[in-house]
Structure formats: C-alpha cells, structure tokens
Symmetry: C2
C-alpha cells in the first residue's frame, strides 16, 4: 500500500504541523469545533486493541433547557472489512462476519451505546460489481426473520441497544430483492425497515441489476432514545431524500454506505455533513473499509481491462451534529467503532436558531416540483 | 487582528507542513484535485497588485466530445470591502464603491472574464443588523435603471461581459423592497432579475425587516456564454432552492453572500460545494469581506451588550465544478477577484456519469412535499 493510501483526510490533518494558532484555527474551521473525547471503559478499550479495531469517541456539547431534560444518548457506527475472501463458501463467510460483529457489538454495549448502525450490506461482500447472480444473491435474507436479524436480536436485547442492520433483503414469496435497513428494537423485535430509495448505475455500482427502488417512502422510527431514519448509500447524493426524513421527524439519520476512493472520497466529507446542516439533525455516515477481491474478472465501463477488485473502500465514517460540527472520521484501512454522545435536544435548538424550517417555503417547492414532473411527462 | 483572523482554511492549508505524499493527498482529498493555475496578462496582475486586491485564477479540466465543441468560458467573482465608513454621506459611499468596482471590472475585462458576479448588496454597507430605516433604505434602487445598473452597463458592453449585480431593489411605485440580482447582458441591456427566495431572521441578519421573499420562482438566464442563475445568500442553506435552479437548466449558479465568521465560516466550504455535486453544475460562492462599523449601537439577540459592528465578513469566495472539484478560496481579509476557466460541457458529462437526474424520482418528492404541505395546513 502506498503511503498516501494509509491516511485519510482526518489522519493527514493530525500529522500536519503548524503553529498552535494555526492548528486551532484549522480545527475550528474544518471540523467546526474540537470536540471533547468521551472516556470509555478500560476493558472495552483493551478488547478493541486486542481485536485491532479503532475505537474513537467524542462528546457533542449539550445546552440545558428549562422545560426539557437533556436527551443524552450514545450513537455508534461500525465500519469493517470482510473476514474471509469472497471466494469462500457462503455459509463460512456469513458465520465469520457474524462472529466478528458479535465481538464489536459487545464492545459497543460495554461502552453504553444506545443506537448503533452497521455498514451497508454488512453480511456479504459488495459483489454487485460482478453482475454475476450466484452465489451473491444467496446472501439475501428476510428482513423479518433472516439469519442476521435473528443473530442481532440477542445483542439488541442484552444491551438495550437499537441496532440498524443493513442487509440484502429478499421477499421469499415474490423473490423481489431490496437493499434494506432493518431496525431492531431494544426488546429484540423488528421495529420496521427502510429501503434504499435511489439505486446507483455508476461504473461498478451496477446495483439496479440486483434490486429495485423502495416504495416505502421515508419512514422515521420512534425509539426510546429518539427518532431515527436510514438513508442508504447513494441516497446521500439526493438532497430531497435527506429532506423528507427530516420533515418526517428524524433526529438522527444513518447513512450506511459502501463507496470507493476513486469515485467519491473527495465528496465524502461534504454530503452527509451538508445534510445535517440543511435539516438540523445528526447524520451518521458509515463507509465499508478494505479492498474486496472477487473470483472472476469483470470490467468497469471505464475502457480498462478486466480486473478482480474495484477499488478501496475508504472507511472514514463520521458523525455530524445539527449545526455542522463533526467528529473526525475513522481511518481508511482499519475496522472501527465510532461513538458520539449527543443531546438530541440540540436539533430543535439549532432549528430555532437558524430558522430553516420557518423560511423553507415547502408550498413553493411542492408546486414547482409538480410542474417539473408534468413538463417531463408532457415532453415524452 | 489576531493571527488566526488573518488566515482562512485555504491559507492555513498553504502553510501546513507535511511530507510531499501527505500534502498531495491532502489536496486531492480536500479540494478534489490540484487545479492548474491560469496565466493572466501581466498588466492586469500589476494593476491588481497596485490596488492591493488578490487576483487568483484556475483552469478546470476539459474533456473533449465528438459532437459538441468545448464551451470554454471564464467565470469571475469579486469580493470587496467598503471604501468609506457607513457614517459617510450616502452619495459619497455609492460613488466610492462604483469607482472601486470600475477598477476591478477593468482588470476582469482585461483577463477575458465572460461572466462575473459581485457580492450581495454590493452598493451599500450590510446595514440590516441595525434595524434602522434611514439612511440605509436610501441605497435601494430600480433593477431596470438604477444608478449602479447604469454604471455597470458600460462595462458589460465594453468587455462583452455578463455582469450579475446584486442590489437592494426598490419598486418605486409600490415601494416594496427586495434583495435582487440583476443580470446585465453583453450588450448592456438588462436581461432579467432574480430575487432572494429565502430571507434570514437569524441574530443580526434581521433581513425580513427590510424586504420580502421573491415571487419570481427560480429563473435561469440564457446568455451567449451559458445558462446562469443566482441563489442569493441564505438561499444556500436550502437544498430545494439549489435544486430548482438546476432542474430549470442552470449550468452556473452564483451565490452572492454577506456572512460572518462566528455564524457560518465552518459551513462555508460545505454548502455551495455540495449543491454543485448534487446538481452537477458550477457554483460560485462569493462572500463580502471586512468589518463594517455603524454609527449607532445595536444589540444582536445574543444577551451581549450593544455594539457597533456585527463581526467579520470572511471573504473566502470559491468556485466548485459539477463533480465537486473546487478552487482554493480567496482570503478572509483582502479584496479579491477569483477567475476560473471552465468547460460548461462538463455539467452534462458529470450528469451522464453519476446519473443523479435519472435516479432522482421527482414524482416521489412532488407528491411527498404536497402531502407535507397539506399536513401543515391541516394542523393549523
């Protein structure tokens, strides 16, 4: 690995030398603020070190109100590499991923995480680049009682932790597939699911070959810790998608992703953060990490010859507050768990301060978009 | 001025020391690419140096097509301080700003700029923090034949340059005021105008006290150089506003602003850049520069005592391409002219590549927003 591949933007910032004025100013301007580090139980830190995954934690500021008590909760985000190569038997790959995730979730539980989200399609290699059906479609499962859901229910219950589990969903009656996030509640029951609204057809991300757009709209889930929603991967490029989760009441929007350096690394710090600002909620951008190599060659529609991997998933998962202040990201090569303690009251506080909801003019846009759709239809 | 006030994020990046791998990686990840510098005529550079304004210029990459010739044009953005203090007679202030702008526009013309945009309400101090009517309302003028428009028409014609002139507009019959950008065409005629769609009511930005929301929608202007639109200041926080300019055909959206460090400096590199990515057009974010001190004390709704200035306009104007690659910004204390040579064909190229228009599902959002508006009305 080249030296530049080891460090993402955040790690580069850490190594940059400057006078103390300059470095403080840089943190203020780039991250919005230098967040306090949240201290975590010693044994959790030791486990993380032993398992060689990066454990990072921050505390967002909380401002007291007179009528509402603070709503302090801990949000978690996991990024992880595959355990076995994609050429291994499907059952072995799933078992290895489950085992590894169990270890991570134990650490998250010990750190008092209340709501956690895993990376997109965490139960499988991100094999859609191959356009092959088998064995990749075999990783699909039921959102209500598939194996990974059953596996996670135990952890949700044990740690009173809401778990957002992004999987490849199959409806076993119709055999329709979706890219879905399942919300597992603190009692281990399935609270609901959210499906990917926008499906990429870019380069190796031939995902429309595998599954179709959600017809579930923009569901927001009321949990005991707060109102959450899930904007899956490519949906982060669509501001309207972020918007509707906000208008439907979300206080945290998780954005589980799988995206690679050459495609989107420069956009990564921008989009989920801008959505947090525009909608005044927390966003949790999670990216897969590592390079995945497939058994058979495939091409990428970029004139280059066949190859067996499609680039490096650069991790760099990060959390942004409703005012745009963000954590540094996890790194671009290691497994990691990012934890942020936040006060969900801050969403409303920032909304009252900036006034975007008041000045939003939704009726203007409902009308303009309706007109636009009519024009598109008329032209056809 | 404290040392940290002299440098914005871009100037801090310049001074940061690192190994060459790290610095190159940082540029790639932060700006998306290190853009080539565009060389400019020697006499223009000398004039800029003599007038002590920063002249920066970049060239965005151009990819050839078979059927369309490249549409290379030069975009300009001007940020400037007041010339005279706000306590000076109105006529003197206007004359001094006109004189200074004339010198800047001569340089822009000599550099071959085709379309240029000035900062928000460039003809006056940003006095809305005072909530005083006089003399500030006296700076308002007709968008069709006001003094600043007449002044600029000569430059537009002389240099075949489209000039976007943001002013405080007054309709002299109704005495309604708007925050307006006037588009002056290459023949010196007024091509049209765009008014601010979203008006801030945040802290010292009491702008709804002065003028009202646009009812002109999201106009896009066809010029000989390309299709342009103007999203004025606070409209940059509203993704729907950016969206509609894009759907209406804009290839460049100018975002003339006046915003201060404590309010928005950390958000500044995010929003206009994210809009460029989401809509695959060029955005030109322009911020006023300097600190403006008013004759009478005012308070800011932040529990602090009365004072006579409301913070530092931090400049840092920058241009982003349709793929998110951006120029470094102008600095935070000097007058400046930023020039970018771009190929407008790249908008469509990036649209075809990322597929956001294809995957946008406008009918879903037209419907969702219409439902949302109905719910709001029903609850009242």
């Amino acid at each position: 690995m080249n030296p530049w591949e080891e460090k993402g933007l955040d790690q580069l910032c850490e190594t940059l030398e400057s006078d103390s004025y300059g470095l403080e100013a840089f943190h203020r301007l780039f991250y919005g603020k230098r967040l306090d580090v949240l201290s975590l139980p010693e044994h959790a830190c030791q486990t993380a070190e032993r398992l060689n995954f990066k454990l990072k934690s921050y505390r967002f500021p909380s401002v007291p109100e007179q009528l509402r008590s603070p709503r302090l909760i801990r949000i978690g985000a996991i990024q992880n590499k595959l355990v076995l190569p994609p050429s291994s038997p499907v059952t072995d790959q799933i078992a290895a991923l489950h085992h590894q995730m169990g270890l991570f979730l134990d650490v998250a539980g010990q750190c008092g995480v209340n709501i956690i989200c895993l990376q997109e399609a965490w139960t499988m290699p991100f094999a859609f680049c191959t356009r092959e059906r088998m064995p990749w479609c075999e990783f699909s499962e039921s959102a209500e009682h598939g194996p990974s859901i059953r596996f996670l229910q135990r952890y949700a219950e044990q740690y009173s932790m809401v778990i957002v589990s992004p999987i490849l969903e199959r409806d076993s009656v119709s055999d329709v597939l979706w890219n879905t996030a399942v919300i597992i509640n603190v009692d281990g029951t399935v609270l609901g699911k959210s499906r990917k609204n926008h499906i990429p057809r870019v380069g190796d991300f031939n995902e429309s070959t595998y599954y179709t757009e959600s017809q579930l709209g923009h569901p927001v889930f009321e949990t005991k810790y707060g109102r959450i929603a899930v904007n899956i991967c490519y949906g982060r490029h669509h501001p309207l998608n972020w918007l509707m989760y906000g208008l439907n009441g979300a206080e945290i929007v998780f954005n589980p992703c799988a995206t690679i350096d050459t495609l989107s690394e420069t956009l990564w710090p921008i989009e989920a953060r801008c959505a947090a600002v525009a909608n005044n909620y927390f966003t949790v951008a999670i990216n897969r990490v590592g390079t995945e190599t497939f058994p058979n060659e495939f091409t990428s529609g970029d004139t280059k010859p066949g190859h067996t991997d499609f680039g490096h998933f650069f991790g760099s998962s990060y959390i942004t507050g409703p005012d745009g202040v963000r954590t540094p990201g996890l790194d671009r090569i290691h497994n990691g768990l990012l934890i942020a303690e936040v006060d969900l009251n801050s969403c409303r506080q920032v909304r009252d301060s900036w006034g975007f909801r008041m000045t939003q003019r939704p009726e203007l846009y409902a009308e303009s978009l309706t007109e636009y759709v009519k024009k598109l239809q008329h032209k056809h």
